[in-house]
Symmetry: C2
Subunit: 332 residues, 2 copies
Amino acid sequence: MTNPATIEDVARLAEVSIATVSRAIHYPEKVAKSTRQRVNQAIAITGYTTNAMARSLRMGRSNMILVLAPDISDPNFSSILIGLENEARANGYGVLIGHTQNDAERALEYLKFVSSGQAAGLVLFTGHQPFGHEASVERLPPAVAVFEPVFNSSISFVGVDDQAGGRKAAEHLLAAGHRHIAFIGDSKTRLAYQRRRQGYEAAMDAARIPPQQRTVLAGDGSIESGRLCVEQLFMRDTLPTAFMCVNDATAIGVLNGLTARGYDIPREFSVIGFDDIPQATYVKPALTTIRQPRSTIGKKAISLLLTSLEDSQTPPQEVLILPDLIVRGSVS
Amino acid sequence: MTNPATIEDVARLAEVSIATVSRAIHYPEKVAKSTRQRVNQAIAITGYTTNAMARSLRMGRSNMILVLAPDISDPNFSSILIGLENEARANGYGVLIGHTQNDAERALEYLKFVSSGQAAGLVLFTGHQPFGHEASVERLPPAVAVFEPVFNSSISFVGVDDQAGGRKAAEHLLAAGHRHIAFIGDSKTRLAYQRRRQGYEAAMDAARIPPQQRTVLAGDGSIESGRLCVEQLFMRDTLPTAFMCVNDATAIGVLNGLTARGYDIPREFSVIGFDDIPQATYVKPALTTIRQPRSTIGKKAISLLLTSLEDSQTPPQEVLILPDLIVRGSVS
DNA sequence: TTGTATGCGTTATCAG
DNA sequence: CTGATAACGCATACAA
């Protein structure tokens, strides 16, 4: 319960100045072997640990990276996070998570956290700027977005090539013989989803499926919205034979809706998702989907962030990773 | 991209001393109205924001709370977190998350983070001490554990009354007429699970079910372990008619195992879980379970932490909340 | 090789 | 009501 030892305690015990202690820690070769030993001993005795805050204040830079997430329960989040953490750790950085709950005010507080130097850089998991108003954008700390690009900004992005992935999904359905493929979960606001749809359209174009044979339903990426889309479709005359869903959650909703109506998947309908979240394995039938290379994304994001930390002149980049198709049981 | 404004910039612009600026911010009534206005104006112009790091260094206390989680993707985590965040925010604190991945070294780094003053207190989501070795335990910052008590320590705990919950679950099965109830997911290391089992035993005792009619299988709380337990049970002569699972994940595994063998739930077997995670609703049949009052837990945990922050003499407490039974479709 | 002194941005104490 | 100034714990330029 006593206060943590400071560098001064160590100095006193080792009978040297605090400068020497600091040097013994950061430049061991610049201090005589005998004094170095005394210092190390004193450190061991006192249990001294350098006060990260004071250090950051003095150096004007911390060794923490802040990850901003609107929703930590997003199944995509945790595995990307692990990729981030491992790479950060390998480079001497720690990772902190700020949960914004999609709330601008919270985001702003976290932003202050980093601009007051408590974190060196930012990883954004959200698809939008983390600021209430677009004020003070010029004071934005080094940042990189993952999973979903930041709309209309010059922030670097590391993620999956959504368009290529969308195309791959659609082509898989096409190759299975489907001609009438519905796109479920279209979004006006989420860039990643729009790109997936572009991939769908491109594949349909290439297969010479006329636009009037394409069905596109809007959604918000939730399980519930997938189920709802199925209901909507059953109000119509013509039904698709396959569902290409904007993400796995939507696909699970579609699966639920379909089986609730007594249909047998994949015999009567085919369904494909996107992301490959853990749940995709447990659902019945197991979901055929496009896999997010999550740990790769995390890794690349950190190394990108670190280089722009070293050299603030680095121009923003977009790193797109080609996703793989994971064939399971929901397509025939 | 210019450096953030400091208190000195504001002072210069308002033509006052930095002391006055600080006062105008923290004790507005102690400064003349006219100067106060000048200062506020200068603040607005410069976009000044007090540097949290310098402030914390000077004050020896920050307004951040660090939440340590071994596994972000734990479905129990996110909703407790929201409770924590809301209550913290209402009291002027921010919340940061440290993801330990159950790794002692990572935990240690986060611990340094708080002992260097970058966070005022700690919320533990894990069931064990967050230290490599139990060294320096006396220097432990104010902390409170949620969801799972910290084994063998004097850290305050806020969570569900696991024993009462376990008993409630068993009694529900008993009331449905079951006599042979298996307990799935026994654990030697996790205190919360042990308590749930004690509740089970208590209920069985009260119903005068002899110990030899009780079946207890070990598990680790995962979906997979639930499925495995079912396999094990089918190697035996006598089968239970009901499964009381240590948590929902295990229960879902049991459900999967049972339906994979072609059984109809709840007609042929009954299953009850514990936690009420979101997935419990989506599984078929929907899971009858014991609900964790998650946002209440979060709220109480923070207020407990804050009081022990004000007055470090507060003795450790154990706050146990009575959980409710949620009846859905997996018990008959 | 080591020590002294300064400053990072704040808050708080003490005079004026 | 306001201003100088010390201190928080550390790293480093400069002097010795």
